[in-house]
């Protein structure tokens, strides 16, 4: 019996996704849980695993966008005739959203067994011919290395159709992070998946490195091969894509004394329970104001169109043990510096714990990358597509400066804006940067 592979919902609010590439070809044998295709959403690129096993009979959506729930492929027995199934399924494809076609996709869904919380692991009736292989542990691996990184380091060995035992807490965490429980091994009693199992699967990186190291037999190898985690892979892919954009950079140096003083006075007025604002928090607020005045910079370049945003949702590059992430401070132009500080503190701590949600990473319209704490004076940031600009902020240092015609010592700050020339011209970028400089030197003007 053939199974339709539907486009999964990886996070809240996800309506559609883009299939980047297929990891299997038509005619390939597919094991349940094996990575099937790469799916790109706004924020993450994730491998999607097969939730059935058999032969990949038909790829319905070879590449491109499809709606959540649309049939993207069919898996079944080798010589199975799936033309009937496909007649209904083709219409469910995201691109041709004819009402009738939607309806047939709905019907196709409705005729299935009710979906289970376990990510469809029970979709296959126990009586399929696959049951002869049921005892074989599947190659089920979520994100490749993550299952390997779990404590047991073994793929789950559940019989087809067997209920996945997971604690309510583990189920909730998996749901929030878009993880498929079917791919996880449980370390609780009776193999129950408990919260820690899901959290470790979500982390990936740290345990992976260890697993890789121990797997390498030649201890005297000249290099250590570190496999890419899914986060690392996403970084690699997206930043490589960023290279396709024709970019230019503009730098400006601003007198940071007012910025530093303003922040100090804010700290002085702090009430109990409030988060102490950093220079970067104040800067985030000022940049948000500047973005309001220069909508050309507060934009995304999507499918050959420029989307300019009213709200300034400012992302901040955060280094975590697993790699760079860019959580977003929503509507930074509407928030006070103290509000920004509180949101920032929460996002950074959760980012370091690997507890960010999809929603924390979504809807950014601009990014600030600050390496000032590493004493980097200035640097050039790589674009964070589809955003059209990113601001690289260096350290505040006392430097010689011309003050009223005399040489003096002032705390200064150098900022470099990287712009996507497809969306922004040099003059637009320069005007934005001039506003940022003005606001840094006179923060009160952001009021």
């Amino acid at each position: 019996m053939a199974t339709e592979i539907k486009l999964p919902r990886l996070g809240q609010g996800m309506e559609a996704g883009t299939i980047v590439r297929w990891l299997k070809s038509e005619g390939d044998e597919v094991a349940k849980g094996e990575p099937l295709f790469e799916l790109d959403t706004d924020k993450v690129t994730q491998e999607v695993e097969a939730d059935a096993e058999g032969v990949l009979l038909k790829i319905v959506v070879p590449e491109g966008e499809a709606n959540v729930g649309a049939t993207v492929a069919v898996i079944g027995a080798a010589d199975e005739d799936v033309s009937g199934l496909l007649a209904g399924a083709q219409g469910g494809n995201g691109d041709s959203a004819a009402p009738a076609a939607e309806a047939s996709a709905e019907e196709a869904r409705a005729s299935e067994e009710p979906p289970t919380e376990d990510g469809g692991a029970q979709d296959v009736p126990p009586s399929t011919q696959a049951s002869s292989e049921a005892e074989t542990p599947s190659n089920s691996v979520l994100e490749g290395e993550e299952a390997a990184g779990s404590e047991t380091a073994s793929a789950p060995t559940r019989v087809e159709g067997e209920r996945i035992k997971a604690s309510p807490l583990a189920r909730r965490i998996a749901r929030e992070r878009g993880l498929d429980l079917a791919a996880l091994s449980g370390t609780g009693p009776d193999g129950r998946i408990i919260a820690e199992d899901v959290e470790q699967a979500g982390d990936g990186a740290a345990p992976v490195a260890a697993a890789t190291a121990s797997a390498a037999p030649e201890a005297d190898a000249e290099f250590e091969a570190v496999e890419l985690t899914s986060v690392r892979r996403t970084i690699a892919r997206r930043l490589t894509a960023a290279w396709a954009a024709p970019v230019f950079q503009l730098s400006v140096t601003a007198d940071a004394s007012e910025l530093a003083t303003t922040r100090e006075r804010m700290v002085g007025l702090l009430r109990e329970g409030e988060t102490k604002p950093t220079v970067n928090d104040v800067l985030t607020r000022l940049v948000a104001s500047a973005l309001q005045r220069h909508p050309a910079v507060n934009a995304l370049f999507v499918d050959g169109a420029i989307h300019r945003y009213r709200r300034a949702n400012v992302g901040m590059a955060v280094a975590t043990p697993n790699g760079l992430v860019v959580p977003v401070i929503q509507a930074a132009d509407q928030k006070s510096v103290l509000e920004i500080a509180a949101v920032r503190a929460d996002l950074v701590s959760r980012a370091r714990e690997g507890k960010l949600k999809m929603t924390d990473l979504e809807e950014g319209t601009f990014t600030i990358s600050n390496l000032g704490m590493y004493d980097i004076e200035q640097f050039i940031a790589v674009l964070n597509p589809p955003q059209v600009a990113i601001l690289a902020v260096g350290s505040i240092e006392d430097r010689p400066a011309v003050v009223d015609g005399n040489l003096g010592i002032r705390p200064t700050l150098t900022m470099t804006l990287t712009c996507d020339h497809r969306a922004i011209d040099g003059s637009e970028g320069a005007e934005f940067l001039r506003t940022v400089k003005t606001l840094v030197e006179s923060p009160a003007l952001a009021l």
Binding site: S167, P168, L169, A170, R171, R172, G186, T187, G188, P189, D190, G191, R192, I194, A195
Partner: protein, 326 residues
Amino acid sequence: MPELTYREAVRDALSRALREDEDVFLMGEDIAEMGGSMAVTQGLLDEFGPKRIRNTPISEMAIVGSGIGAAIQGMRPVVEIMYEDFLTLSMEQLVNQAAKHRSMSGGQVKVPLTIRTQGGAGWSPGAQHAQQLESWFVHVPGLKVVFASTPEDVRGLLWSAIYDDNPVVFFEHRTLYPLKGEVPDELEPIPLGKARVHREGKDVTVVATGRLVHDALSAAEQAEKDGISVEVVDPRTLLPLDEETIIASVKKTNRCVTAHEAVVRGGFGAELAAVIQHAAFDWLDAPIERVGSRFAPLPFAPVMEQYVVPQVEDVLDAIKRTVARA
């Protein structure tokens, strides 16, 4: 702060109420000259006289019934049922009368009656003098139910029970009477319906009542040696229940053990487990474990009694089950 035994703390609350308030009086079997079979009311006859410290015939139905009558007339009687096993004899008065008058009269009649009683195993009392029947009364709308575990709590809660306008069934534990503990200089009333967090922890919450609070605290200390951080919460009032504190604790620890000396089946732990699983379903990382007596009439033989009644090790085992790995 002065130190009182649990027994002295009960007596202190009673004395203070008797001293300060003409409406308070005591009734019960052998509570006057003899000072009660647990010596809780010793000395009270001398201070307050036979009109206020009244011996009764051996009829629990009459004791509670007359208490209800006095309460309706505006007094604040405290009646003592010698063993909670004997509450069964007063069920008609408690369940059908005391619990119902306020509601059935549209609020015109109040029954500010306190029914003190005690029970509990650990001293070979046999099957008819040691039951833990508190959960029976949690099932009756119109009653309040208290089960105090420390001298400080028993004193502050008994005061609140006396001054509550509803009938309160007030459970004391036989083996806790000699337990010493610090109490505030002045009696501080403890509101009914407020749980007490005895010990904070992050891995598992033990919700325990009565004697098991102390066993849970011992188990928590032992568990800590194994790296398990245990929070111990005593609801103190079983009805109304401080769900907020308990739920907050379980949401923090993600695991829960309930512990009482009463039999597990149909015990108060069942109610706790139901409340917790509903309010904190998505926070639970392990099944809720229930600790209680085995489902048997309490044997007289000490070794058998010890086998039937939960001990520290039983709580510790349950704690470990909640954090167990395959």
